[in-house]
């Protein structure tokens, strides 16, 4: 059953990717990217990574779609201009990177194998000792907020920095609104 769900989801992903590549209308690209995010979220649910699926659905399909549509509205640019420059270098870079990633994936341990390095290093300690040590049944939460508290603090600071940056670049026009409008008109 899971195999067929995976096959259906991955086929849809490939179809959406092809549609994004061929599409010239940027509004359609944004909507297709939102659908892509929802499909990836479904793949994550099949892989039992519900936390990641939630994040992908809310950030990838929700917030970033809204922000991208806002960008299209602000710039007024709705169709991608046909570029007449040579596509040799970009396609070479893309194909080389993709080829190296596929080549590298051949060296990975098989999917879900028990003695893969990720499952033998610190994961057993977390799984065995997180409930006796922290009393939190969800190991993901105890790793994120407790064992890896410094990392999550760093992530929160990154979000803080991103918010401050966007507010400085786009917002903070309140006080100069009048003069700004006059400047725009001249």
């Amino acid at each position: 059953m899971e195999l067929y769900i995976n096959m259906a989801l991955l086929t849809l992903l490939a179809a959406i990717t092809l549609a994004i590549i061929t599409q010239r209308d940027l509004f359609s690209v944004v909507i297709l990217a939102s659908i892509y995010s929802f499909l990836i979220a479904s793949v994550m649910i099949v892989l039992d990574a519900v936390d990641v699926a939630m994040t992908e659905a809310s950030v990838g399909a929700g917030i970033s779609t809204v922000v991208l549509i806002g960008t299209l509205y602000l710039t007024g640019q709705n169709t991608e201009l046909r570029s007449h420059r040579a596509i040799f270098v970009p396609s070479f870079v893309a194909l080389t990177t993709g080829g190296m990633l596929v080549w590298g994936s051949a060296g990975l341990p098989a999917f879900g194998v028990q003695d893969a390095p990720v499952h033998t290093h610190v994961a057993p300690t977390y799984l065995l000792e997180s409930i006796p040590e922290t009393g939190v049944p969800n190991v993901v939460t105890s790793v994120l907020a407790d064992y890896r508290g410094f990392d999550t603090f760093g992530e929160t600071t990154v979000i803080f920095t991103a918010g401050i940056g966007v507010m400085l670049l786009l917002g903070a026009r309140r006080k100069r609104k009048r003069s700004g409008n006059v400047e725009n008109q001249t």
Binding site: D51, T152, A162, G163
Partner: protein, 138 residues
């Protein structure tokens, strides 16, 4: 801008449930999937949906700009402050065992405080980014 009546009524009906789901994801993060980050994004999504359907002025009457701007640093301060408290009581930075008499309760409390910081910053930042984009277009 007046949108379709069905859209407005449906939005009004589901808004409280979106916020309730965000709070569930936040406070149930110890037991089920989710946590401060996801809950913050869902809560911001509620504000954004309200702003899209009813206009930004209406949304800013409920969630004013100053509150959103304040939430962005307050969350980081709550997170860092939790670490400083455990520092003051003689443990390592962000070691929650010291926060309560029973170390397990301390860990519970610490995770709750830290996640509260995360949800505050994330919800504030996402809404602030949306407000910044929308106000730019006026």
């Amino acid at each position: 801008m007046k949108l379709d009546v069905i859209l407005r009524v449906t939005t009004k009906a589901i808004l409280p449930f979106i916020l309730l789901f965000a709070l569930y994801v936040h406070f149930h993060g110890d037991f089920g999937p989710g946590g401060g980050f996801q809950a913050g994004v869902i809560a911001a999504g509620m504000v954004i949906l309200y702003a899209i359907v009813f206009g930004v002025e209406a949304a800013q009457r409920v969630v004013p700009q100053w509150l959103v701007s304040a939430m962005v640093p307050i969350g980081v301060l709550v997170y860092g402050g939790t670490g400083v408290i455990s520092f003051i009581f003689g443990a390592n930075y962000l070691d929650y065992s010291i926060l309560a008499h029973d170390p397990k309760h301390g860990h519970h409390l610490g995770i709750l405080l830290v996640e509260a910081g995360v949800i505050t910053t994330v919800a504030g930042t996402m809404t602030a980014i949306f407000y910044a984009f929308v106000q730019r277009g006026r």
